[in-house]
Amino acid sequence: MYTQFFGNYLLNQQLISPDHLADALQMIKNTRVKIGILAINAGLISAEQAEEVHKEQQRTDKRMGDIMIEKGYIRESQLEALLKSQQSGHLMLGQVLIDNGYMTTSQFANALNSYKESNKITDADFYNVKDNQTKQLLTRFYDFNGVSDSKYLVGYVSLLMKNLIRFIGDDFTPMQSEKIENFQCNCCAYQEVSGPFNATVIAEADINAFLEFASRYAGEVLTEYDEMAEASVGEFLNLQNGLFSVNLSDEIGEELTLKPQTAERNMTLTNLKNTFKIPVCFSFGTVNFILCL
């Protein structure tokens, strides 16, 4: 989960622009993290040393890892461990941003360190986030203050992020939530839930992002906006709400009542109260999750 929120941290710190982030997310799939970034992430070299190695590599025909060993920055065993380490999403994002000149290596290294410090996280936390850590991260990240009936909101959004990773993919960055009063939906699926948590939950996107989201959930390529595409996005919501009801039942012994999910195009939302839009930027486009409480 920390991986997904790193892009947003960079935005909030004004280290990159939303356009640069959107560009980077589109390129992320074809990126491989270089050894320099992996070494910075592991705390083995500083950003300055990485820059130095990078410059030397441009002059000579040696591999970065070999130069780092020659300079005595890392040992051979450390290089082997780095080569085996995971191609985590936040490092891939950093690599794309550096490769495209949107950030320098030093800026990335500093941002990564301050992100880890401000969230009190270790490298292991990037791969194995505990439930309470996710909720703490979301509480720091989203401002749901002033929302009535917000008691279960963080738990709901936390589950949503986990389900996005589980069923759609981890190549996304959640953006800041926004309180809205009116909204023009393009393609959307929605479901109403009631009980201890009352909400209408909407998943909205332009047609291309909607179809890609639907394809990923269905596990097959859907190229036409049809009943199958609508059913796929609707079923994702149904699953999210069903699993949230299971969580609530386990935690407080109460359940939600779900209404059948529906889909619609060009739906206009007006005079909304207590309504939040949570945009989630995937590599294929943005999907907005709208929570009408």
Binding site: F167, E235, G242, S249, E255, L258, Q261
Partner: protein, 151 residues
């Protein structure tokens, strides 16, 4: 020459006779092992995924319903061997449909399939007489296990 032609004719007739018997036996065998399954879910995606799973098993006639009312009507009309029933559906929910089906046929085997796998839902389904309960997203293995159980 005539003797030879009569011999060929006799062989051909016998061959056709045995072949026809064989085909008829095969049809009876297939029919006896064929089961009918009704899939009730308002999501066309869930129905398709379930049909894909069932097609891997073979010898299954699949019926579909997209709401609780259709499910009851289909059951009364076709009396399938097994029903996979979603809970949250338009017109009539899965538990209501299950109760109606059981009041029509006490031996009906209805598996409740739901994303809301809470203790409350599970209890309600079992008390209403459900044969089993599956939490979505369902795996091929769990479906195959249930079908092997009824076969």
């Amino acid at each position: 020459m005539l003797f030879f032609l009569l011999f060929i004719l006799e062989i051909s007739v016998k061959l056709w006779y045995h072949l026809t018997i064989l085909i008829l036996d095969w049809c009876v065998f297939m029919n006896n092992n064929m089961i009918t399954i009704l899939i009730c879910d308002d999501s066309i995606l869930v129905r398709k995924k379930m049909k894909d799973t069932l097609s891997k098993i073979g010898n299954i006639t699949v019926l579909e319903a997209s709401d609780g009312e259709q499910a009851v009507a289909q059951y009364m009309d076709k009396k399938p061997d097994l029903v996979f029933m979603d809970i949250v559906m338009p017109k009539k929910n899965g538990v209501e449909a299950l109760k109606e089906i059981l009041s029509f046929d006490k031996s009906a085997k209805v598996v409740i399939v739901s994303s809301v796998g809470t203790q409350g839902n599970l209890k309600e389904a079992i008390e209403a007489g459900a044969y089993d309960f599956l939490q979505k997203p369902i795996s091929d293995d769990s479906v195959i296990k249930i079908i092997k159980g009824i076969k």
